[in-house]
Symmetry: C2
């Protein structure tokens, strides 16, 4: 199978800087085989006129099947949101619901240019099944909560191991795993040591929520007399490649630790605002050289999985809070969802760039819309003028998942029907 | 001419609260003639299946033809943005450029559901010409800067008067006017008194930038020993119906003045962030009962005229800065761009609602997209899940301006061609 994207404007990355070039991209099987040469007899030819090809975006923190809860519990104080609304219906979710919920999440991600996501949740085999069928790329993790002594905590680690074993050799290499102790406030110190042991045994990195709320910091300080970051550091969590999501409340010492231990910070600006948690100190993290990435979090606290929305927020909000128009530029933000994100997953030699030899994970935007005129600067446009819905064609692993806004691997009508039924049942 | 939007989900407003109902909307000439009854032989029938009809949105602060500068000067410190980039090319703009720039702005506004906007700029007759041809609704204002003694200031008021005279009886009542002293820092006290006199003579309200930046507040304090709000209040500006844009830096006393004088505050969250100005105290203003509306500002500082983006920011950002998930709800934000906005313009008995007897200004969204599933709460969806591009059909004054994403009153190809040429010339 080969694809030629002919005479297209493309976002390339040269010498660590992005550039926009009119070129052609030739894909053979799952790989970008050539850039610049249009003389190929490809199986599929995509006309690049008025189109912009970008590296497929990477959403490094989400809970895809929370899409079922979209717009179900909004404008509520955090505890009411969580305890009165989300947890009770989360309890009612079945594996089948998780499958359809993931499919809905994947549809939205594809439609807005995301080709890879990092997920943490419960029914991981169902998430994997949806990913496998839909053809998107994923880093999966079973959310682990527990204490060093409880039966449930041990069982969850065992199930996580079984899930990893199950997916070995399946999914065409698009499915990888990471160990996910949920958060410092839901895993005690002994349990975290068990998770580290599990991660080392399976050669996994760590995916964890960190310092998401002010109350978490207070709770951990009361219990351990240190910050959540210091707590995880002392236990050795950061000796493994770690994706720390949120990181809203950090001391200067925390930031030094994250920098020294090369922790990847996944900021989720919309979720942090929506739940009233606050604004992460992203410019400080960038100044310290920390690898910052973006995540949407789940659709219950966002309420979309649209990384372009996230990109708008991360490039705009810090300008306002710091009263400096020159912080977190458009291109800086773009790295959060491409090369930085790939690096966090240890896949920076495979995805996150349109580059010969890289995996063919590409999103194509229709830029023949008012918001892209005049074309003064298309890199700026990606951060400040794109709403996400302009993505019309998406390729993952050399396979076209959406062409001219039509899903090729997902029965969209069936997903919408099933999701409507599930939501009706859950909210009864 | 009559239109029937048949069996559509519609955002109605009852007893000051929004509701979503499945209904039919019958339009005769420029008026919503009936809601609920589908038994009409209309000239045009629009199938409402999987569509959501909302009141056309109102953008109460913009400079439409700044769209020419979109993505031209981003991520720069404010003074460099203004003095090195924007002002020099603004100088080169011709009336013809303004016409095409306004057309581009109108295209983007229509595409994202805006049916009325309040504009302040220079080539007002050209803006009017574009509005007249495109069929959108506008409140126009010539930006006035000057001192009590300079010739230019007097001339600008005279030109503003001529523009008002010119448009009398034209534009089918879709074009209204407001007096626009640019800002406290660009109009001295004597000039502001001249503008008040002009406004009273023509029975106009006032459209002004207020307390947009920290430096403005310092400058006014140095000159007049009071805040910009106190300064305008002393001069009697607020005795006229005033639209005050931005209002980022306000003292508690300023807020009391704005509340007491029924000043309408037009918040432009994206622009305020993008230029590094900060975040307006919107929850305080709402708590004081001030009529808050939304504006996009010009595309040079945004970089879109998409009110759905603005709605996302205004409903999310204050939750984060105040660490309260229950402030500025989705429905509160919706009022900023509908009924509140109409009230600011003195048009609340004509626009801003889907209601029998009101002007037929309606935007229709295609909600058969992943971000609208499941349909747990479509009012929440408008604030938190809609990106703007879902708008597919727009009606203003009973006339269809866009149908199934096709512009019916604008030659879109010609606008894009002209805009590209203009941008090329200006940036040479």
């Amino acid at each position: 199978m080969s694809i030629l994207i002919k005479n297209v404007l493309a976002v390339l990355e040269k010498d660590l800087d992005f550039s926009i070039e009119e070129t052609s991209i030739y894909i053979e099987n799952d790989i970008i085989a050539d850039i610049g040469n249009a003389d190929y007899n490809a199986d599929v030819i995509i006309d690049g006129k008025n189109k912009l090809a970008i590296p497929g975006l990477i959403n490094n923190h989400t809970h895809a099947y929370m899409s079922v809860f979209r717009n179900y519990a909004d404008d509520l104080p955090f505890s009411q949101w969580l305890f009165d609304k989300i947890l009770p219906i989360e309890d009612k979710l079945t594996g089948e619901d998780a499958y359809w919920g993931t499919m809905l999440g994947i549809m939205e991600m594809i439609k807005t240019g995301t080709t890879c996501f990092t997920d943490m949740y419960i029914y991981i085999n169902e998430t994997g099944r949806a990913v496998d069928e839909a053809g998107i790329r994923v880093c999966l993790s079973r959310g682990l909560v527990g204490t060093g002594s409880d039966e449930g905590g041990r069982r969850r680690i065992d199930e996580a191991k079984q899930e990893i074993e199950y997916w070995k050799g399946r999914g065409n290499g698009r499915i990888s795993f990471i160990a996910a102790p949920h958060a410092p406030y839901t895993c005690d110190d002994k349990y975290l040591l068990n998770v580290i042991e599990f991660a080392k045994e399976y050669n996994l990195g760590i995916n964890i929520h960190l310092s998401e709320s002010r109350s978490e910091v207070v709770e951990i300080y009361d219990k351990y007399k240190c910050t959540p970051t210091e707590f995880l550091n002392k236990l050795g969590v950061f000796d493994l490649n770690t994706l720390a999501a949120h990181c809203v409340y950090l001391t200067d010492n925390d930031i030094d630790i994250l920098a020294e231990k090369n922790v990847n910070v996944i900021t989720c600006p919309v979720s942090n605002l929506k739940l009233g948690n606050g604004i992460a100190p992203i410019t400080k993290l960038v100044d310290k050289g920390i690898n910052v990435c973006l995540g949407t979090d789940g659709a219950a606290s966002n309420n979309t999985l649209n990384l372009f929305k996230e990109l708008q927020f991360v490039t705009l909000i810090h300008k306002g809070t710091e009263e400096r128009a020159d912080v977190i530029s458009a291109t800086e933000g773009l790295k959060f969802v491409t090369s930085n994100a790939a690096k966090a997953l240890g896949l920076d030699d495979k995805i996150g760039k349109i580059k010969t030899g890289y995996k063919a994970d590409i999103a194509i935007l229709d830029i023949d819309k008012p918001q892209f005129y005049p074309r003064n600067n298309l890199l700026s446009a990606l951060a400040y003028s794109t709403c996400g819905d302009e993505v019309c064609t998406v390729i993952v692993d050399g396979k076209i998942l959406m062409k001219d806004n039509e899903f090729l691997t997902i029965d969209a009508e069936k997903v919408k029907y099933q999701i409507s039924k599930i939501a009706e049942r859950l909210l009864q």
